[in-house]
Symmetry: D2
Subunit: 391 residues, 4 copies
Amino acid sequence: MRYAPSDLPVFTLTTGPVDAYPAVLRGLASTVLYDYDPAFQATYQRVSEKLATVVKAQTMPVILQGEPVLGLEAAAASLIGADDVVLNLVNGVYSKGFEGWAARNGATILELAVPYDRVIDPAEVARVLTARPDITIVAACHHDTPSGTINPIAEIGAVVAAHGALFLVDAVSSFGGMMVDAASAQIDLLITGPNKCLGCPPGLSILGVSNRAWATMKANKLAPRGSILSILDWEDAWRADKPFPFTPSVAEINGLEAALDLYLAEGPEQVWARHALTAAACRAGLKAMGLAIWAAEESFASPTATAMRTPEGIDEAELRATVRARYGVVLSSGRGETLGKLTRIGHMGPTAQPLYAVVALTALAGALGALGHSVDVGAGVAAALAVIDAG
Amino acid sequence: MRYAPSDLPVFTLTTGPVDAYPAVLRGLASTVLYDYDPAFQATYQRVSEKLATVVKAQTMPVILQGEPVLGLEAAAASLIGADDVVLNLVNGVYSKGFEGWAARNGATILELAVPYDRVIDPAEVARVLTARPDITIVAACHHDTPSGTINPIAEIGAVVAAHGALFLVDAVSSFGGMMVDAASAQIDLLITGPNKCLGCPPGLSILGVSNRAWATMKANKLAPRGSILSILDWEDAWRADKPFPFTPSVAEINGLEAALDLYLAEGPEQVWARHALTAAACRAGLKAMGLAIWAAEESFASPTATAMRTPEGIDEAELRATVRARYGVVLSSGRGETLGKLTRIGHMGPTAQPLYAVVALTALAGALGALGHSVDVGAGVAAALAVIDAG
Amino acid sequence: MRYAPSDLPVFTLTTGPVDAYPAVLRGLASTVLYDYDPAFQATYQRVSEKLATVVKAQTMPVILQGEPVLGLEAAAASLIGADDVVLNLVNGVYSKGFEGWAARNGATILELAVPYDRVIDPAEVARVLTARPDITIVAACHHDTPSGTINPIAEIGAVVAAHGALFLVDAVSSFGGMMVDAASAQIDLLITGPNKCLGCPPGLSILGVSNRAWATMKANKLAPRGSILSILDWEDAWRADKPFPFTPSVAEINGLEAALDLYLAEGPEQVWARHALTAAACRAGLKAMGLAIWAAEESFASPTATAMRTPEGIDEAELRATVRARYGVVLSSGRGETLGKLTRIGHMGPTAQPLYAVVALTALAGALGALGHSVDVGAGVAAALAVIDAG
Amino acid sequence: MRYAPSDLPVFTLTTGPVDAYPAVLRGLASTVLYDYDPAFQATYQRVSEKLATVVKAQTMPVILQGEPVLGLEAAAASLIGADDVVLNLVNGVYSKGFEGWAARNGATILELAVPYDRVIDPAEVARVLTARPDITIVAACHHDTPSGTINPIAEIGAVVAAHGALFLVDAVSSFGGMMVDAASAQIDLLITGPNKCLGCPPGLSILGVSNRAWATMKANKLAPRGSILSILDWEDAWRADKPFPFTPSVAEINGLEAALDLYLAEGPEQVWARHALTAAACRAGLKAMGLAIWAAEESFASPTATAMRTPEGIDEAELRATVRARYGVVLSSGRGETLGKLTRIGHMGPTAQPLYAVVALTALAGALGALGHSVDVGAGVAAALAVIDAG
């Protein structure tokens, strides 16, 4: 039995897009209202207010009408001026990639880099900030997805705050699946989206902005205005009585409301717990099968995705193709420097349920065996189950 | 009986967003696949190929992941270089507004402008082009929605082609509701979206690009790359075997496929006919009620929206609010210079059905009467019905 | 322009099935749970409790798993024993048709009949009951849909209660669109369904049962048990801790919950008001066009459907076919004795919005004209609008 | 981590209702048309014709508007007359239960019974038929779901055909998941439904009827007419130009069409193969964990459900409750005589995918362990994976 590439997969256990919650799909199918209809304007404000309770920024969240790369590019373009000195904390492909956007307006970019299987040490950040008092902005990626590693963002945030720099954080693939918000981590510009752990399709960015970040963006002459890249244009758009700079993505907003309703009804802590437990079960299973996670230390590993180091002699692309063809399971590859070196199993939104770790482990074991790298699937599943049962 | 602002309206007869076709809503609710899943990559290529049959550009259409303001801004930023001389044809708020994007890279902007209730005369374009042989790009808006007027785009296109300039056309709110494609109008860069006459929600841009336009964009050092504004990055993304620059809006793509399937099954000519008939019925009804359309001549009026000139003494915003409160009907206002001067009735996608003209006429008549401007609703509906019956 | 029979219609203005509310369609698309899953059992109890607040019977409503003909057949088979003397109140095709089911168990059937364009006079009922003290059950149809007439059910209920007979009422096409419940009309066995004024698809029956009706059914040896026709088997099925006799229609139950949520959120009185206003506008419009309603007196006419008497010389089937072909509007025919004599316009659930009366009037006027029976559409719409504006 | 009873389960691995395919859910959400609208009448005929290709009866399938208990009751009431001698083949709760419906019209009921963990031997049927040449009808249940056992229906059918009796078969929970149709098994009246292996919600019955069965039903004076239980009334209802006896369940019909489209696109043999492989993997896993299937011989076991014999000392209800609470997995209990003695894992429609066997095995192992009956989950999953990989 084989699944053809054109067959719908049975399990999409990727690092995003993930399949949306059924209730979100129904939300997307809601009546499309005119954006200036008062019923939609009220919806937009209501969604913004629900978002505010979980983003916890000093001001009302901004929703941008494109998936989070828009949010990231817009954040860099808006916050970083030509005179800024930016410390970019690099521990993976995405944090490294941010440099391109950060440099667009001519700022000076400094880098604190560690190998891509490690995380940033807050003490190192403190040392650099002490050495360079001229640093005005620190940028970090909370979950550098192509490595499946999680930075200690609250600890870094405390260091940045003590220094007085602005803290810009890409929390795209951690937000909604673990504890992270603008308040707890003292983030001035938090960028995320609903298409990872909130279980929506891609299409929106969510920004949490501090008062200082607003002031900085407003003072930045290079900050986009009259552009899809503008954050400034959307400052008041959340208010039912204010215009939109351009047409918001009505269906995605409806889907987002459904996702927020699910998230708040289940309770964020409960949601985070099932993300963490699924990841822990997955790591335990891999280890028991003699496989390694990518992260140099288990404490670096993300609760929202598990990166498995590709065993010697295995072609990573062939591994994923085999997993899909034999079991109907879709996994994610690495990106850039990690491409070909690891396979990622997403634990995001609807797939952050512990038994999905068992599905992934079984499929990986079967495919590895088929490719000549036999592992003990029984040991893997037993170890995962032990973690789940202790959870 | 009154409809509260928070009540869902009964009829959304706006100029977009319009309510989506039910089949499109179901398409939006389809399983969200991982963007690199082969089943989704095949979907993306299939959607692109269906689009190609209707956009009729020389190359495969580009889908950008944001509503058409993204397409327009990206088109300007990509096509227009610092050395270009752009002739912007202005007959309304949207064509005038394009100037801001066109000028971004430092090009010289010339303008051929007419009053906002008129359309561009191709002979005038020819005269300007003869006078200014250095013009390299001509920009036009096919349907300047805030005026409800339609330019003779194929005739203008012939003039531009004869001159040898590139022709950039905003066909956002005409495409899919009337005859317009890159081939018939000799358009080098056609920008549209599925959220008007194709009956999708807002969230995507569609671009039809000629070979010359690709060459020009590639040669343009200022054309965005590595940005949400990049068209270049998406050149090959339609191919199932090529990567996406960033995550496409999976649900919107699924919705677009449903819309294209409807459009092709019904037959474009048939779809255009019902748009045209609905608009004709609407205009006839307005006239019979002693109301004026905004367009200076009826031949200027769009088949996809009807702009009614606000009668003396009527507050336009109050008129729309009354229409909604009394009848549950949502109409569109003007924009910018036309704001307060006209009310627009959309005939787009699912609402381009002749009897919706009767709904709009009845609601307008009732609201005008309530505001002290009595009109003969019977005459209006009878005139509309006569047009429908002759259609 | 013509709509082909295979084209989806634009407006379904029938007497049921009507198009469902969009929120109901989304409800139908909810995850299908196992019937014995505690989450579904809780749903079933919750739906039953919401129903109870609007059915207002002495006991918890019973949901049967088939459209209301099941409810009617089951009610007759369960309530009426061989020794009963049933007074069947006949003023239309449906009330007459009930006789077949009522007689199944061998009961004596008496009939109080009036012409099918009239309604039952409670005083007449009182006279018959006085003359026949042996009558044990009185059966009536609240809204005899094929005639579009409404019986004064509360007044009849008072007479029946005074006599001491059981009162069985078919309220299928009135419930949810006007005031009627088991308490206000002293109904012992009320049969309705969600597929008319509640705006669901057909597939369920809803029964409101008095304590006496339960006792009578339990004592009736001929009452179905172990059958799809059994009401008795479902007595406790509403309780989350009790089994279902057989598998309930899970999707339809989900749809019903969405419909009840809409109904309760809008408020029953508000819902009834828009049904009544739509019907009143429709009648006024017909009259102004020189057309007659079927009901002998306007006070007999239903607020949930308007039956138009077919003008001399018009073929009723051809009229409806013309309405559909020219305008995409679907109307209902008569049934049985009224077939060919009238056309019905439904005002039910989502189509009980006043402007739909205008849509129907315009389409009827156009089609009548096309068939050689010209009417003044303008007068019709103006009259309808006047009623709406006064509403 | 625990799932509350009110939480939506993560995996519904029951023997029906099963969760519907997503495409079926979208089908259910389609526009609800008036049943007499030509577009719906064409849909109904088209669905019937698609059904005909898979039911393979001599005549067009009949769709009854209620879940398959309606089909079974109607079949018994319609086919079996007072003078018939019915041989009821009993090897489980459902086949035994059919006796009640079979006896309704006063027929003589004979029984060939075997223990509920065994299947019917065609040679035994032949012996009984030889001994009782007066047998006119033989009734069997293909898949007696409460036991998870499959009768050799084609072999029995050949014996019945040789005898000349009519063959009535309940194929509710096998049809669509394995080879069974009216032609291959010489069935005169096949009763099934879309809510098991076709992946629809419950709400319809499907009947395949031979010419002889039609003749017999028509000659049967006791066959229901003018009733929800009538099959006769629906004989011609599949034709677009014929009336329905009463309103069909429009949404369920739309859902059924989506299910048939999926089934035919995937290919029945392919669908059956994944049902069989899932069941085989499940059985292998149970065995490897030292657990027993209910069926006395593995060859008796169904490909569409696996019944696990409850280990000594385990409370079956507690086991399922534990599976749900700890892992979010819903399984089915036994029924009647098998209640408390076995737990059933469905492999039906969307859940007939091999890795779901692993999900079920893991959850069962975990719950058994929690209840003090430790099993080797690793051995179970490894055995299941070996079967899958060999499949």
